[in-house]
């Protein structure tokens, strides 16, 4: 397997297209021939991160790199940032509006679910500047 890289741009509040980038990434991973279980974990992590960009920020981007050993996804946004990352990692904690909840999201499971589905998760967030999520899913078992 060769290394594959790419980038998607994500528009905030564009709920009609929410999840398109992650679905495209999933399709790419399937074409490459990545294990089905790893595809699912990667796609869920990417999708949760993408939904956070759509829900909370004006815009962001998702970069991905697929190597024979691991998949790395970096999602950056220019949103309001996360005031308290520990609190945001708590299952059920959410600042989503009722409108977001009516769309089936914003129940406070996003970041904890990313943590569950990735092998490494780094979150860098500066209030007023934006947030960067760096996610790694290992392909080869150590």
């Amino acid at each position: 397997m060769e290394t594959t890289e790419g980038v998607f741009f994500i528009t905030g509040k564009d709920f009609a297209n929410a999840g398109v980038a992650s679905c495209e990434l999933k399709s790419i991973l399937e074409k490459i021939g990545v294990d089905r279980g790893i595809v699912r974990r990667t796609a869920i992590s990417a999708f949760e991160a993408e939904m956070n960009v759509v829900i909370y920020t004006p815009a962001g981007m998702m970069r991905y790199k697929v190597t024979p050993d691991y998949i790395k996804i970096v999602v950056e946004d220019v949103g309001p940032g996360i005031e308290n990352i520990d609190l945001a990692m708590t299952e059920g904690y959410s600042t989503a509006t009722d409108e977001i909840r009516s769309l089936g999201f914003g129940s406070g499971m996003g970041l904890p679910n990313i943590k569950k589905n990735t092998d490494e998760l780094k979150i860098l967030s500066i209030p007023g500047i934006g947030t960067t999520l760096e996610m790694v899913i290992n392909i080869k078992k150590e």
């Binding site: 709920f15 009609a16 929410a18 999840g19 398109v20 992650s22 679905c23 999933k26 089905r36 699912r40 796609a43 869920i44 999708f47 949760e48 769309l103 089936g104 999201f105 914003g106 129940s107 406070g108 499971m109 996003g110 904890p112 679910n113 569950k116």
Partner: protein, 117 residues
Amino acid sequence: MTLNEIKDILQAEVLTFKFDENMDIEMVCSTDLMSDVLAYSKPGVLLLTGLVDGAAVRTADIAHVKAIVFVRGKRPSKETIVLANEKNIPLLATKLSMFEACGRLYVNKLQTSIEAG
């Protein structure tokens, strides 16, 4: 149980032209919260939901949901149906409530896809 048997049990209408009547279904996830599908559901399930927008189909695609049944007589847009055909995810619609739809499937031995916490 096949998807066709589920269609009959739920008195459901098929909305997509992609419909494998022999598709095997063993487990069901019933929720309007897509976050719960992503966080708790196992792959290869049938999703019962009242959420009819494209996010339901994309969530199903991401989480390896096999097919979706919309409950309470809700109907998705044409765009959502087109998307489901593209993703090869059959869509069905029933007038039954979520409660009754789940009850009918439960007595027919289908299992939950979400483990009790």
